[in-house]
């Protein structure tokens, strides 16, 4: 079932066009890789789909409802409850420990302090970094930070995970470990994933691959159609 949809999404930064009319669907539970050369609009598309950026024209639809017309407050509530976001560099809060970072989205959603801490700890375990719960980001390896950031993105049980070059700062083995964990969790929980990457070997984990070129979806045969494996 289609969960998230972009219809003819156009977006520019001042006079620089980033998206020139992108249409795509994301199924429930589907892992979708978005690839393409640097500057083709991958991050902009991810931001539009996640309701972080508003398209100049076109529509973004979440479970049948247009969200691009929603207010910033409403979109931000949607992001807190239904979406998780993971960037290339974890962007953890430097002053907080791993467990505090992961608990943050729960506290913002009104969960009690004690419960938030317990859930955060269980997510750190699930991502294989339970041992750094009381450590601040500055004292963790890049791979550990990225796993904490993944735990933070997943802690609220989002229906979609948006990941922008999540393995970009990791070596091959660390990247592969993070990705296999994300794939496993996505399959267990039925979480959809939008995976922006420039690495063919990372895109190979997705159910489908969409290639962007110059702000549009490439239809010349570069993408990989769905194997339907997520259903």
């Amino acid at each position: 079932m289609t969960q998230l949809q972009a219809r003819d999404v156009v977006r520019s930064y001042g006079r620089t066009p980033a998206l020139r009319g992108v249409t795509l669907d994301l199924d429930e539970g589907e892992i979708l890789a978005v690839t393409g050369p640097s500057g083709c609009g991958k991050s902009t598309l991810l931001h539009c789909l996640a309701g972080i950026l508003r398209p100049d024209s076109g529509e973004v639809t979440w479970r049948g409802e247009r969200i691009d017309t929603w207010s910033e407050a409403a979109r931000s509530r949607l992001r807190r409850t239904e979406f998780g976001v993971l960037f290339q560099f974890g962007q953890l809060v430097a002053e907080l420990t791993a467990a505090e970072n992961v608990a943050l989205p729960l506290l913002l959603a009104g969960t009690g302090r004690r419960e938030a801490r317990a859930v955060a700890a269980s997510w750190l375990d699930r991502l294989g970094v339970g041992e750094v719960a009381d450590v601040r980001p500055g004292e963790m390896s890049g791979g550990q930070q990225q796993r904490c950031a993944a735990a933070r993105a997943l802690v609220t049980g989002p229906r979609v995970l948006f990941a922008d070059e999540p393995t970009g700062a990791l070596d091959t083995l660390a990247g592969e470990q993070l990705l296999t964990t994300l794939v496993r969790l996505s399959r267990e929980k039925g979480t959809s994933v939008v995976l922006v990457t420039h690495e063919p070997r990372i895109a190979a984990y997705a159910d489908r691959e969409v290639v962007l070129r110059d702000g549009t979806v490439d239809h010349s045969g570069l993408g990989v159609p769905s194997t339907g494996g997520h259903r």
């Binding site: 296999t180 063919p200 070997r201 190979a204 984990y205 990989v224």
Partner: protein, 181 residues
């Protein structure tokens, strides 16, 4: 990619003790899961040559009406040859003699940009399909570390080819202009 040196792999498989041809074939296929499976004929032909050259010796022969069960073992000479081979560092390939590269160069020479591009796109599809297949092989619950390491090797090379294909797709129009001024 260079061919597997079958004689040296067989010497290596005999290093831990004598085996007969069938066992050697099985061990070879298990240890090098992404290599072309070894034909029986090739096992016996290679063992024959290694025996002639004094690298292996026949240490037993069971023949109870069943298949040939000649057991081979490594000789001192064979062990020395194996040591030498392991100590020789493989030189990075001096020439890039890839059929893939040659085909794209020729496509660009004899055809237009679109033909060269569609050749690259088709190649990318084939490589991507294989990459996905190997990713599946590697993460299958039954995968051994032999499988994982062999798949890693193939995946790293496919990944490199795919990056090259993507870069070349970006260059193909400029490249065509340069070749056909």
């Amino acid at each position: 990619m260079s061919e597997v040196s079958t004689p040296h792999v067989l010497l290596g498989l005999l290093a831990s003790g004598g085996r007969h041809g069938y066992e050697l074939k099985r061990a070879y296929d298990a240890r090098l899961p992404q290599a072309r499976p070894l034909a029986f004929g090739q096992v016996y032909a290679t063992l024959g040559r290694l025996e002639r050259d004094g690298m292996v010796a026949v240490t037993g022969q069971e023949r109870d009406g069943g298949p040939d069960r000649t057991t081979y073992a490594l000789t001192d000479e064979g062990r020395a040859a194996l040591d030498r081979w392991l100590s020789d560092v493989e030189p990075p390939l001096p020439y890039v003699a890839s059929t893939l590269l040659a085909k794209v160069v020729v496509a660009l020479l004899v055809a237009d940009v679109d033909r060269a591009r569609s050749c690259l796109v088709a190649q990318r599809q084939a490589h991507t399909a294989r990459l996905r297949e190997l990713t599946g092989v590697k993460h299958a619950p039954s995968a051994t570390l032999d499988d994982v390491v062999a798949a890693d090797y193939a995946i790293a090379h496919l990944d490199a080819d795919l990056r090259w294909l993507a870069t070349t797709l970006d260059r193909v129009a400029d490249w065509h202009r340069e070749v056909h001024p």
